[in-house]
């Protein structure tokens, strides 16, 4: 099993979710994060005090998937999250050793 972590632009969340739904993903965990990268941030100015904020609001998705689904999931995210502009985000894939569903105690692919 794999854990897919995607950093995307906040307003793309609905699209990505829909795309994931299509490829059969039913569970996602979403976190509001701030991203720092090549995309530039904004300036805030309060009574002449200027702050350059280079963190941008981003959404992080974590999705546990079976290894078979991995390709499809990555493709779905890439397709639906892209705007073509800098800051579209990243996908990280890592390995999951175990998944447990708390309610039932099921483990492995069944628990996803």
């Amino acid at each position: 099993m794999k854990l897919v972590t995607a950093i995307i632009k906040p307003f793309k969340l609905d699209d990505v979710r829909a795309a994931l739904h299509e490829v059969g993903v039913n569970g996602i965990t979403v976190t509001e994060v701030r991203g720092f990268g090549r995309q530039k941030g904004h300036t805030e100015l309060y009574r002449g005090a200027e702050y350059n904020v280079d963190f941008l609001p981003k959404i992080k998705l974590e999705i546990a998937v079976t290894t078979e689904l991995l390709e499809l999931v990555v493709e779905a995210i890439t397709r639906s999250a892209t705007t073509g502009k800098i800051g579209d985000g990243k996908i990280f894939v890592s390995s999951l050793e175990q998944v447990i569903r708390i309610r039932t105690g099921e483990t492995g692919a069944q628990a996803i």
């Binding site: 307003f11 609905d14 904004h42 300036t43 805030e44 100015l45 309060y46």
Partner: protein
């Protein structure tokens, strides 16, 4: 609004009683200042400004998305400032200067010429009368903000509002209250159903149509960011409205007392009506619905507040709750325009309902103070319709032209990127909330 002919005998009953006995005193006392009435009008002025800042700006700020909260507050605030200066320069003169052909005031009072601390209007200082009226001229354009919230350019807003108060608000105020032709026609508008609310609502609708929808509306969720603040704003509007309606008597007397009372009654009725409709339709009553109904009731009772009795007020409240509910919840979606915060649905529609029903419930047979000698209820309703109709047509036409001109000159809308980022950051380099 505005019983300008109020004599001392009426305003200051206890003294009047004495004066009646000593007729020689009368001429002398004519046009004298009444501290009691002045006290109430100073207070009313504070209350009506309180409606706009902080009241309305909170009401609106809570309904927009967090990224636009400051932008609507700033719009209300800057309107307050701009209208104030224009008022000094020429708006007061236009609206309340000596009448020229029933159309507009002459400019004798431009730059407050001739108005000193000793100038009296009725039984209060003219400065107080002028200040009280100014607060109405402020809140009217501020109400319009709700219609195009979350997408207008700040510079375009400044131009639009400055021109709009000049070419729409000032003339209409003059027609109805300043001695102009609608007042002469017998249109009843105690505290501004037509001048303020229809006017603001129609301008808002036109602006919403000319500017188009917010990007993503209605597919993307645009949830109110802080309804707690919206409830606070609604409470402030309610309280401040006592100054609006009871203050429009320009005196602390029995009419003011009744105006305050009917304001309360209509508002309660409208709020509950909206709430129960929602409850029936969706299974749950909501705070926003309750507050929206209250504002609809406040709007609708406004033109009627000096003329109707308690039961008439409740009837007006119920009608306003019902009709505004459908305007906001149904009509807007059916027609598909994006009146962001329902400036038209609540103020335009509510103002219209109130204007017409004033003609009905002012009749003494329905508990009102009675229509003018020889005017029937039907006749008064026709007059009210005429007043409302004229305002709608005039306001819509001029607003449309102004918006188109500004659009051609500098553009009305923020760019799509700015809208996406939020107007607070994009246009003002600020964020409303930095709570973490």
């Amino acid at each position: 609004m505005m019983r300008m002919e109020k004599t001392v005998a009426g305003a200051c009953v206890c003294v009047g009683a004495v004066l009646l006995i000593f007729a020689p005193g009368m001429a002398l006392a004519q046009d004298a200042l009444s501290p009691g009435d002045t006290a109430w009008m100073l207070t009313s002025t504070a209350l009506v400004l309180f409606m706009t800042i902080p009241g309305l700006s909170l009401f609106y700020a809570g309904m927009v998305r967090a990224k636009n909260a400051l932008s609507v507050m700033m719009q209300c605030f800057v309107i307050t400032c701009v209208v104030t200066l224009l008022w000094v320069f020429y708006l007061y003169a236009l609206a309340f200067g000596d009448d020229v052909n029933g159309i507009i005031g002459n400019l004798d009072k431009a730059f407050m010429a001739g108005i000193s601390k000793d100038s009296i209007k009725g039984v209060i200082p003219e400065t107080v009368f002028s200040m009280f009226q100014l607060t109405f001229a402020i809140i009217t354009p501020a109400l319009v903000v709700g219609a195009f919230a979350e997408r207008m350019k700040f510079s375009a807003l400044l131009w639009f509002m400055a021109l709009w108060v000049t070419f729409v608000y000032a003339p209409v105020a003059h027609w109805v209250w300043g001695g102009g032709w609608l007042g002469q026609l017998g249109v009843l508008d105690f505290a501004g159903g037509t001048v303020v609310h229809i006017n603001a609502g129609v301008a808002g609708l036109v602006a919403a149509l000319v500017m188009g929808k917010r990007n993503g509306y209605p597919q993307h969720p645009m949830k109110p960011s802080n309804l707690v603040l919206t409830m606070v704003g609604a409470g402030m509007l309610w309280v401040g409205w006592f100054g609006f309606n009871a203050g429009s008597e320009l005196a602390a007397d029995g009419v003011a007392g009744m105006a305050m009372a009917v304001t309360q009654f209509a508002t309660a009725a409208a709020a509950l009506t909206w709430m129960f409709l929602e409850w029936m339709r969706y299974g749950k009553p909501s705070a926003l619905g309750l507050a929206s109904g209250a504002v609809a009731g406040l709007v609708a009772i406004t033109p009627a507040s000096g003329y109707v009795g308690p039961m008439g007020a409740i009837a007006i409240g119920i009608a306003a709750g019902l009709i505004c509910y459908f305007a906001v919840v149904k009509a807007k979606r059916a027609f598909g325009y994006d009146d962001s915060l329902d400036a038209f649905g609540v103020h335009g529609v509510g103002g219209f309902v109130g204007a017409i029903l004033t003609g009905v419930f002012a009749d003494s047979s329905l508990g009102g103070v009675g229509l003018k000698e020889g005017v029937s209820m039907g006749g008064q309703v026709m007059t009210q319709l005429a007043g409302a109709g004229v305002t709608i047509v005039y306001c819509a036409a001029v607003s449309f032209v102004l918006l188109k001109l500004i659009d051609a000159a500098i553009g009305l809308r923020a760019t799509a990127e700015q809208e996406q980022e939020g107007l607070d950051l994009a246009l003002h380099d600020e964020r409303g909330y930095n709570l973490t």
